[in-house]
Structure formats: structure tokens, C-alpha cells
């Protein structure tokens, strides 16, 4: 029987990739953020996942406004990074787990989540950076990938309530999976930040703390705000917390927080790292 070993959440600011590339992890600016990761490494070495179900948002690499799925599930044998517009070194490719992807897709659609099915999907820094942080020494990723994309770009966005329900439907699918995989659920992005407009640079530690304090024990609390209210509270790109909310749903009904790190600022972002285990 498959086992869900836990959930890992972290921010995916592109600048983190630059810091890793330059080896800046121990510089005064970056150390408080990277200090959140030894515990993640220990935990992953202990629970040994071999597949990751990752909730994240595309940043104009795989999807453009011509076709913008609200929820998209990857069902590929392999996922590659590509030039995101800045000519940076490419991130390592991922092996897919197409059988599990199709199982999730079938179960989701059966549960009336009519997702977009992607047999080809480029993955951007939103997936690669959390893996670089989690497995800094890896020559190739030790887990297979099932990527689930949530539209955080083009409004109307799915509500927090709907994203939590999506996650819970993924959990149900994982519970029914007959493979013997050890599954880690991952949510990436956030927390509060805003890149655009006269309010650029906005962060909100109070709201971030509310999200972190409730994610394990009472995730429904995060669904009480509309998308408009979440933008107001978390910033235009802070809506990436939707990825965290969905991932929390996929972890299962009850959860225990085992690690948390929160640091302002990383680039323009309030950065957070969190580990939860099923309880």
C-alpha cells in the first residue's frame, strides 16, 4: 500500500536559484532562509519518499494566456525545465510517474474536478527550486514527479475553498492508489508578496502567521477569505498560498507541524518553509 509520508512547503522565489548557483547560502542575507533546510534534509532522509505530488503555479513557461487551465495535472514520463526568459542555467529534469498521474486524473474527474490533462509539461522554478532546496547534493532527483498546476495568474482564480477541496480529492485518490509508493506532498510559492503596482513590496507577516498557524490544525480557516481578500491580505502574488492550501488538503484530514521557518525578506517576498506529518 502507498503511504503519504508528509508534506513539505516552501517559497520558490527565482532569486533563491541564483543564491544556490553562486553558493551564497551562508551569506548574512541568505543564511536565515537556508537555515530552515537542514531539518528538511533530515526529515526527507528519514521518511524517504519516492514520489512527489507537487502543487505549484506556472510563471509563463508552459502556459500562456491563449489557454490557461484552472487546474492542470501532468501525466508525462519526464518533465524538463527550459529558458524562462532570463537565459539562466537550466534546472535538472524530473522523471514522471505517469501511472499515478493517470490514477489521480481519473479519480479527480470521477469526483467532478474536471482538470486539464498534460502529457507534455515544462516545469519552471516553482517546482525546481523547492527540489534544489530539499536535495542540494542530488545529481538526479530521488523522487518521481506528479505536478499539479493551479492558475494564480489570470483572474478569476479558483477559490481557496475549491483549492482545498481539490487537495482533498487528490488525497482520496492517493489513498486508493494500489502502488507501494512513499508519497510526499509539496506546496510551493508565497507567502505574502507583491511585485506589481504602486503597492509593490507589500508583505503581511500577520496574515502569513495566520496561514502558518492554521494550515496544520484548521486549514478551512484559510478558505474563509475570497480571492480578492487574499490579494488584499497577501499581495497579488501572495495568492500562491493557494498551492499550499491544496497541498494541505492532499496530506489528509489531520496533520501535525514538525518544522517551520519564516524569514523576511527574500527578494520581495516573505519566505516560509514548513513540514507537516499526517496525524
Amino acid at each position: 500500500m502507498a503511504e503519504i509520508v508528509g508534506a513539505y512547503f516552501t517559497s520558490h522565489v527565482p532569486a533563491i536559484g541564483g543564491a544556490i548557483h553562486r553558493g551564497d547560502q551562508q551569506t548574512p542575507y541568505w543564511k536565515p532562509f537556508f537555515d530552515g533546510f537542514p531539518k528538511v534534509h533530515e526529515w526527507l532522509a528519514k521518511v524517504k519518499p519516492d514520489v512527489a505530488v507537487v502543487f505549484s503555479n506556472d510563471h509563463g513557461l508552459n502556459f500562456f494566456l491563449d489557454k490557461m487551465p484552472t487546474f492542470a495535472v501532468g501525466a508525462a514520463a519526464e518533465y524538463r525545465n527550459a529558458d524562462e526568459g532570463w537565459g539562466l542555467p537550466l534546472y535538472k529534469p524530473f522523471k514522471g510517474h505517469a501511472e499515478l498521474s493517470w490514477h489521480i486524473i481519473e479519480q479527480l474527474v470521477d469526483g467532478e474536478f474536471d482538470v486539464t490533462i498534460c502529457q507534455e509539461m515544462l516545469v519552471d522554478h516553482a517546482i525546481s527550486i523547492p527540489f534544489e532546496l530539499a536535495y542540494p547534493e542530488a545529481k538526479e532527483w530521488p523522487v518521481k514527479l506528479v505536478p499539479i498546476g493551479i492558475n494564480t495568474v489570470q483572474h478569476p482564480l479558483p477559490s481557496a475553498k475549491r483549492c482545498l477541496a481539490l487537495g482533498r480529492a487528490v488525497h482520496k485518490a492517493l489513498e486508493g492508489w494500489q502502488g507501494d509508493d512513499r508519497i510526499v506532498v509539496i506546496g510551493t510559492g508565497g507567502l505574502s508578496h507583491q511585485l506589481d503596482g504602486k503597492r509593490a513590496g507589500f508583505m503581511n507577516p500577520d496574515y502569513d502567521r495566520f496561514c502558518l498557524d492554521n494550515l496544520a490544525s484548521n486549514p478551512d480557516a484559510l478558505t474563509q477569505n475570497s480571492i480578492h481578500e487574499i490579494v488584499q491580505l497577501a499581495g497579488t502574488q501572495g495568492v500562491e498560498v493557494l498551492n499550499w492550501i491544496a497541498a494541505r488538503g492532499a496530506l489528509g484530514p489531520s496533520a501535525l507541524e514538525i518544522h517551520r521557518n519564516y524569514h523576511i525578506p527574500i527578494s520581495n517576498t516573505a519566505a516560509a518553509t514548513l513540514l507537516l506529518e499526517p496525524a
Binding site: G60, F64, Q154
Partner: protein, 123 residues
């Protein structure tokens, strides 16, 4: 029974904030399509070689062309630009998200970086 969304008045605008909604997505389509094309180095090089003809190829509206020519990020957003795509254009201009933040908020880059750091003290 009326739903909340149809019976309630539209939510209050958030100061200094544009939600990238359908109206913006329609208005900004050409500009965002051009920015999306910058995932290719060949396209970035073509833009740098001749900005004007590259913008013509994507049928940018006059206000979009002017905002790009002026490196006016707020103008690009007003013309329907979305920051996820505009970030690729900013990369061509060598602008970081702190540079863009400073431009939009009327701060110097140092002031904007300090503004970010100061929020740590309030956390």
C-alpha cells in the same frame, strides 16, 4: 436565492493594486504575448536589435509601445501587462524585481530594498 457574488456589490479596489482580470487580459494580450516570446533567446536578441519592429510584429497598441519605450512598468500594467510576463522583458533591460519595485513606488532602489528589510522588524 441570490448568490453572494450576484447580490453583493463589487469588492473595494485595493490601492496600488491591479487584479489581472479578463478585461486586463484582453487589453494586454499583445504585450503579454510579446513578453512570453522572450522565453526564446533568439527572440530576445531580435527585440534588442530593433525594438520598434519587434513590437510591430506583435501588434502592440500605441500605449503599450510607449510604455515599453519609456521602461514605464506602471504604464505597461495599465495597458494590460501582467507581471509574470513583464518580468521577462525586465530581464532584457537588466532590471531586478527590486529595480522594478523602486520604479513603481517612486523610491530609489536603495530605499526600496530598505523598505523590504524594514518589514522584517515588524514581523
Amino acid at each position: 436565492m441570490a448568490t453572494q457574488s450576484s447580490s453583493g456589490s463589487p469588492p473595494e479596489p485595493i490601492p496600488g493594486t491591479t487584479l489581472f482580470d479578463g478585461e486586463a487580459a484582453r487589453r494586454g494580450y499583445a504585450l503579454n504575448a510579446m513578453c512570453y516570446s522572450f522565453n526564446s533567446k533568439e527572440n530576445r536578441d531580435s527585440f534588442v536589435a530593433d525594438e520598434g519592429s519587434y513590437m510591430s510584429r506583435f501588434n502592440l497598441a500605441p500605449e503599450q509601445r510607449e510604455a515599453v519605450a519609456r521602461r514605464d512598468v506602471l504604464g505597461m500594467i495599465a495597458a494590460g501587462g501582467n507581471i509574470y510576463y513583464l518580468a521577462k522583458l525586465a530581464g532584457i533591460f537588466g532590471l531586478s524585481v527590486q529595480d522594478i519595485g523602486a520604479m513603481q513606488t517612486g523610491k530609489t532602489v536603495e530605499e526600496f530594498k530598505q523598505f523590504l528589510l524594514d518589514q522584517a522588524d515588524e514581523a
